[in-house]
C-alpha cells in the first residue's frame, strides 16, 4: 500500500512516499492510528486528514491496495 506524503509530514517521516507491506490498515481510522504509533510526532499536529483517491476521507472508509492514499497535514495555502 503506497501512501503519498506532503509538507511537514514528509519532513517528519523523512520520505515522500510510504510503502506499507505488512499489517495493512483496513480503514482510514486504522491507518491514522498506525501512522501516529510509528511516527509519534504526527500526533502533535493540529489535524491529520487522509485523502482517498483525491477526496477527503472519513475514518470508517475502507482502504484497498488500488486506492491513491495521501496524508494531508494542516493546509496553509494562500
Amino acid at each position: 500500500m503506497r501512501i503519498l506524503l506532503f509538507g511537514i509530514v514528509k519532513d517528519i517521516v523523512g520520505v515522500d512516499k510510504l510503502d506499507i507491506k505488512l499489517d495493512i490498515p483496513k480503514n482510514v481510522g486504522d491507518l491514522k492510528k498506525y501512522l501516529v504509533k510509528k511516527y509519534p510526532e504526527l500526533g502533535n499536529l493540529s489535524s491529520l486528514a487522509i485523502a482517498l483517491n483525491n477526496e477527503y476521507a472519513t475514518e470508517e472508509m475502507k482502504l484497498t491496495i488500488q486506492d491513491e492514499i495521501a496524508i494531508i497535514p494542516p493546509v496553509s495555502g494562500g
Binding site: 503519498l4 506532503f6 509538507g7 511537514i8 519532513d11 499536529l45 493540529s46 489535524s47 485523502a51 483525491n54 477526496e55 495521501a70 494531508i72 497535514p73 494542516p74 493546509v75 496553509s76 495555502g77 494562500g78
Partner: protein, 138 residues
Amino acid sequence: MEINIKIVKQIDTSIVYQSLSHQESGGVCVFIGSVRNLTNKQIVNKLFFEAYESMAVLEMEKIVKVAFEKWDLQKVIMHHAVGEKKIGEPVVLVGASSAHRESCFQACRFLIDTLKENVPIWKKEFFENNEVWVTPHP
C-alpha cells in the same frame, strides 16, 4: 459560467481583467495574495509552496462550483502558485465577475477563505536561521 482554475509556477496578474470581464458583468472583484516580508516580527526571506496537485485542482473546482450556486456570477478565476516565491511575488489569485458588485465582492471573499481552509497546498517560511512549515492552529 466560465471557470479558470490552475496550479502554476508563476502567477500572471496581467490576465485578470481579460479573464474575468464579460458583457453581462458590471463588476469584477479580485484578490491577490503575495509574499510578506514579516511573520510575527521575524524577517522572512522567501516562501516555498507545495501542492498535492491532482486533489488541489479538484478541491478548487468544488469551491468554484459552490460559488456559482451561491451567487449570480459570470466568470471565476482561481490560480495558485507552487515552488519558491520571493518577497512581493504573487502566490494566489482569485476573482469573480457579476452583474452587480455585491455578488462578486462576496464571492471573492468566499473563494479565498475556502481555498485557505480546504485546498491541499502547504507553505514553508524561510527565516534568517530556520525554516518552518506553516501549520495554522484552529
